[in-house]
Amino acid sequence: MLYRESGQFKKTYSADMQVFPLREDRVGIAIILFIAAVVIPLTGSNFFISTVMIPFLVFALAAMGLNIVTGYTGLISLGTGAFMGVGAYACYKLTTYFPGVPIVIWILASGIFSAAIGALFGLPSLRIKGFYLAVATLAAQFFLEWCFVRIPWLFNYNASGAIEVPTRWIAGVPVTGPTATPMTRYYVILGIVVLMTWVASNILHGRIGRSFMAVRDMDIAAELMGIRLLPTKLLAFAMSSFYCGVAGATMMFLWYGGGEASDAFNINQSFIILFMVIIGGLGSLIGCFFGAALLHIIPVMLKFGLPAIGIPLAGATAEHINHLLVGGLIILFLIVEPHGLARLWQITKQKLRTWPFPY
């Protein structure tokens, strides 16, 4: 009833090709953007914004990056955490050398460095496939992680050995560093995520995205159809690493803020983001948001929610139960819907479409 496409006729090809052909979808996106940009900042507390919304957006961005290479191109990558790290360190070096340039530009530019490194480590993908490739990308993870610790130039020879986020202003408002309010950081990150989602959606719906999917579905057939495998796979790795790099830079500069998280880019981060992609749905942009929301919110809820409803949990026990529950939920979700939350969302839409007379 609410979600009905009858009566909406498309008169031009471009109307047929657009990303959201249904009026209901366009209205829905507008409502979501309105909630994200107006309602949440007005109603949410600083705590909610900085522990739930900002990490959620960062993870969604990282998941989007991984989804490009794993979900759309079918190459499993376990180096996400390291590529995020490259972005963070690149951004740090850039803003150290050029403190006058607005930090947002450097956050976006740091993706380029990450993309270059990603393409380099994507080279084996032409020869190695499947799980062999997944393990090969672990080489990137461990090598880069080692670089982050062992090359002091990367962290400006700090005594702490970690990134110490400096304060940077845009138009007189502190955006990064300890004085930046959660609200400012939220708006910056929201802007970045919306922009990059829009770009990703357009690229993935176009020629490049289609060649990615052709490679995923069967690479030999794609090659026979005239898609050059090496450039396509490298482009997928580069684009994916670009997104991961920007996510890493936003994570370090807009979420953590301080330098306390030197091991933020370890192997577990890579796995958690892979989870988000799989639980959200491989090859679906909206799935990235679902997956990030689910996997980020479960631990936060367990950490803060259970004590709030009167179940006291000691720190260590909470950690163990958290492990148990997250593991159990992952298996449960995989059994119930192996194609991820995005598929559930599609099924719901289809149900709505035919309601109340399903056939």
Binding site: F131, V135, L138, W146, V149, R150, I278, E319, H320, H323
Partner: protein, 316 residues
């Protein structure tokens, strides 16, 4: 610079052959343990096509259960039997709850399921036995302690007795597994399943049963690995790192080959110890973590299916 990289390490090797032998031995021992973890992976991958990420955790879980039971006052050998029972229950539970509903799903989904399993095993293990590191009950199990010294090549080589025991036990276990696969009814069924699921089903082999058995076999391997590794260091989930070390061993040896796992383990073990000892100081040390992957990648460039893996045949 080039001299430092290309020549100096070999000069050092020649100058102090006892150190060289010592390093090789350390590598060999580490390699045996990597090979044991990789062996568990290979068993499961061959029989069910599942890339079992949880194998490393199963090692820790088995060791933790053993030590935990002993702490509760169970005699050592009975604790071993009880731990085997726990691993059997784990195998059956995994087959029932995780594998059966996910049959015929894409590989990556099954891989992720084993990752969920990793979380559950960590949570369960720490929940029951606590998170602090424990001491392996090596003496109670009759494992030898202490060191042996050899005076060779104009120097001393020190060998831990426990390492010798580990190597011997590992060889025995591999021989036992080979015999089991070759001559028993279940072993043949396992090989049949590894060759072709469909053909095995059509001659009346129960896949579910085989999967439970193969997970149990991997559990036994995990227990033995856990005892050996635990005797060298503490038993805690920090051993997670060694589970990741098994991955380059796997791609080096090939996912489907038991000899590959062993040879790969030894190559990686020796390679990384030599690299760390002779080339590590040039770049500031700590290269053990990634040099294994580099060795594996170099091999993969030549043979994408690993040293002993099945040839990958692509069809359209």
């Amino acid at each position: 610079m080039l001299y430092n990289v290309l020549i100096d390490p070999f000069v050092q090797m020649g100058a102090a052959p006892d150190l060289f032998v010592q390093t090789i031995w350390e590598g060999l021992v580490a390699g045996v343990l990597y090979a044991l973890i990789a062996l568990g992976f290979v068993l499961i991958f061959k029989a069910s096509g599942v890339f079992n990420f949880a194998q490393g955790m199963m090692v820790v879980f088995a060791a933790l259960t053993l030590v935990g039971l002993h702490e509760k006052g169970v005699p050592a050998w009975i604790a071993v039997l009880l731990t085997l029972g726990v691993m059997a229950i784990l195998a059956i539970a995994v087959e029932r709850i995780v594998l059966r509903p996910l049959v015929n799903q894409p590989d990556i989904i099954l891989f992720m399921a084993t990752f969920g399993l990793t979380f559950i095993i960590i949570g369960l293990g720490e929940f029951i036995f606590g998170g602090e590191p424990k001491q392996m009950i090596a003496t109670e199990l009759g494992l030898p302690q202490g060191t042996m010294r050899f005076d060779i090549l104009g120097g001393k080589v020190i060998i831990q007795k426990i390492d010798v025991a580990a190597a011997v036990i590992a060889s025995l276990m591999i021989a036992a597994l080979a015999l089991f696969f070759q001559y028993t009814r279940i072993g043949r069924a396992l090989r049949a399943v590894a060759d072709s699921h469909k053909a095995a089903l059509s001659v009346g082999i129960s896949l579910n049963q085989i999967w439970a058995i193969v997970w149990f076999a991997a559990g036994i391997v995990a227990l033995i690995t856990g005892i050996m590794w635990g005797a060298r260091s503490d038993v805690s989930f920090a051993l997670q790192v060694i589970a990741l070390k098994a991955l380059p061993v796997l791609i080096l040896g090939g996912f489907t080959s038991i000899p590959g796992a062993i040879v790969g383990g030894l190559i990686i073990g020796i390679g990384e110890k030599l690299a760390e000892f002779y080339w590590g100081p040039l770049v500031g040390g700590g290269i053990e973590n990634w040099v294994a992957y580099v060795i594996a990648l170099v091999f993969l460039m030549v043979r994408p299916q690993g040293l002993f893996g099945d040839k990958i045949i692509e069809r359209i």
